[in-house]
């Protein structure tokens, strides 16, 4: 019982902070918006997806990739926030209180989930403005966004573990971002993975990130005409693969992070 109320108290605390440091949310938006614009207008004309050469097909293909990349950036936020709390001595304060053990981390990840949701809303509006359209029913589109949020939530637990493992908030930010670039680029997010050399193609097809992107493309109806879905299992069953990946990541990283928290010294 106290696990739920304590988590809510901590989530509320982090949301109040977010409201008082709005630049965090704004900076969090600039990067994905920049990517939308860059890929749509700069690369868009020269990247071929499926059998189509149309700019519109690439725009629609692209958005799921940018949405998925954006939700994984919550990792850096969670990591930096927790490292900052450690650094400032707040974690010590919390650990000396008779509260549920995982609540500090759960509260933080829930607050990050809210931030991710806000970011996605703004980003979706920008995407529509540059020409993104969905071709499935509203329920499926919503399911796509729910899947993105679940995946982002899972990644914030990786961030929590990073935040508890480094000495400074700055290290948590860079430690939370560095590995995300290869993860998101060696995937189907920005290009058709079928066109990669076979070594990279296999990595891309089994990359958890690709599963989420593929699932969203299906749920949004954004697969380009003539697109050949790879035979790898996660690509054939992307929704299931995304769910499994998310749950596994949450279970593993939540366990590790809570264990680390209990022994943490600020």
């Amino acid at each position: 019982m106290s696990a739920i109320t304590d988590s809510a108290v901590i989530a509320r605390r982090n949301l109040i902070r977010m409201g008082r440091i709005p630049e965090m949310l704004i900076f969090g938006l600039i990067q994905p918006i920049m990517f939308v614009v860059l890929f749509t207008y700069v690369f868009g004309g020269s990247i071929q997806v499926g059998s189509s050469n149309s700019t519109q097909a690439y725009r629609e293909f692209l958005m799921a990739g940018i949405f998925a990349q954006t939700v994984t950036f919550a990792t850096a936020g969670a990591g930096a926030g927790i490292a900052d709390d450690m650094h400032k001595g707040l974690i010590d304060r919390f650990r000396s209180l008779p509260m549920a053990r995982g609540a500090v981390l759960t509260g933080r990840t829930i607050a990050d989930l809210v931030q991710t949701a806000l970011t996605l809303v703004v980003l979706a509006v920008v995407a529509v403005i540059v020409g993104w359209r969905t071709h499935e029913n509203f329920g499926k589109v919503l399911a796509g966004f729910a899947l993105l949020l679940l995946f982002g939530y899972a990644f914030s637990w990786i961030g929590a573990l990073i935040g508890l493992s480094v000495r400074t908030p700055e290290a948590a930010t860079s430690g939370g971002l560095i590995w995300l670039f290869p993860l998101t680029f060696i995937s189907n997010a920005f290009v058709d993975a079928n066109l990669m050399p076979s070594f990279l193609r296999h990595i891309a097809e089994w990359n958890p990130f690709s599963a989420v992107v593929q699932a969203c493309r299906e749920l949004f109806g954004n697969l380009p005409p003539g697109f050949k879905t790879p035979d790898a299992w996660p690509m054939q069953h992307p929704v299931w693969a995304s769910l499994i990946w998310s749950v596994v990541i949450i279970l593993v990283f939540r366990t590790l992070a809570v264990r680390k928290y209990r022994r943490a010294t600020g």
Partner: protein
């Protein structure tokens, strides 16, 4: 029956560093123990072990009658922690901080709100209550930090260097707050590098150096260990020095030292103020005019020096800070 805070043989090592090397403590209920020592002596590590933040490698600790290693959660309900490492959230207001802490002590939201208002009043923070604590002065932040430790009026309190970094006026204010608190019956363990602070606030003082308690007792007992009191006399006329030495020889417990040019005589004595009065009468009877006379007691600085062979000054960063173990 062990006291409200009890530790036996606490050992904690960080890599090669033996931060605690067998710390024993016993603080009777309702008293204040001052843990005195330089940076790196093991004060903070001791507090961290007693407040469940750090698990000692070996040893036993009991706080408020509860075994710290076996029932850490029960201990957390009975303690308040304040000081250099237990912070408040700088983006939350003072009120929000106290409410949050109250709720995490498992108070209902309404009760936590009322308690926060009470504490803000008590610590003279009502005017600043709805400002983010980022805007607070150092003294205000310390007061809020202390208030956060008092949300549930815990029977046992720990304060780690509560006044480090404060200016003298703010330090004085905080001392008053702490004294009030203790007069209400709270048991308090306080760490400090300020000898004056331990002298001022603590019933008992434990001197810590290199992870061990090297001496413990009241301030007076510790001072007595360092050679006790001395009478210092400054005579008006230089030719009276020899007579004065004779007079002091009748009262002293050792050799009188004479600083000729200052006409100052110093003799170790026992007997306190009563003896001082007798010395004054005898000097007067002999017709010796004096410029100054006084009973000098060793300061805790003297005590620390004589116990450890080095002065109590900052060496390096207190251990226990840094990365995750």
């Amino acid at each position: 029956m062990p006291g409200a805070i009890y530790a036996e043989g606490l050992v904690k090592t960080f890599g090669d560093v033996r931060a605690l090397d067998g710390v024993d403590l016993d603080v009777p209920e309702g008293t204040v123990l001052g843990l005195l020592g330089p940076n790196g002596a093991g004060k903070t590590t001791t507090v961290r072990c007693l407040t469940t933040l750090l698990r000692p490698d070996s040893g036993r600790a009991v706080v408020a009658g509860i075994d710290v290693l076996k029932q850490p959660d029960a201990v957390r309900r009975s303690i308040g922690l304040s000081g250099q490492f237990a912070a408040v959230d700088e983006y939350l207001t003072g009120r929000e901080n106290l409410q949050m802490v109250g709720q995490l002590y498992q108070m209902k939201a309404k009760a936590a709100k009322e308690r926060a208002a009470e504490l803000l009043e008590q610590f003279h923070l009502t005017d600043a209550a709805d400002r983010p604590t980022k805007t607070y002065s150092g003294g205000m932040r310390r007061r809020l930090d202390l208030a956060a430790a008092l949300v549930v009026s815990p029977p046992v309190m720990f304060m780690d260097e509560p006044t480090t970094g404060l200016d003298p006026r703010n330090r004085q204010q905080l001392w008053e707050v702490i004294k009030q608190l203790v007069s209400g019956g709270t048991t308090l363990l306080l760490t400090t590098q300020y000898l004056e602070e331990a002298d001022h606030l603590a019933h008992d003082i434990a001197v810590v150096d290199q992870g061990k308690v090297i001496a413990q007792g009241t301030s007076d007992q510790l001072k007595a260990r360092t050679g006790g009191e001395r009478v210092e006399v400054v005579v008006h006329e230089r030719e009276h020095i020899r007579t004065a030495v004779e007079v002091l020889a009748g009262f002293g417990k050792g050799e009188t030292t004479v600083e000729e040019h200052m006409r100052k005589l110093t003799t170790p004595v026992t007997g306190g103020a009563k003896l001082l009065a007798e010395v004054i009468r005898e000097l007067d009877t002999r017709g010796i005019e004096i410029d100054d006379i006084g009973l000098r007691r060793p300061t805790l600085d003297d005590v620390f020096l004589s116990l450890t062979g080095h002065v109590a000054e900052a060496k390096d960063e207190e251990n226990g800070k840094g990365a995750v173990q």
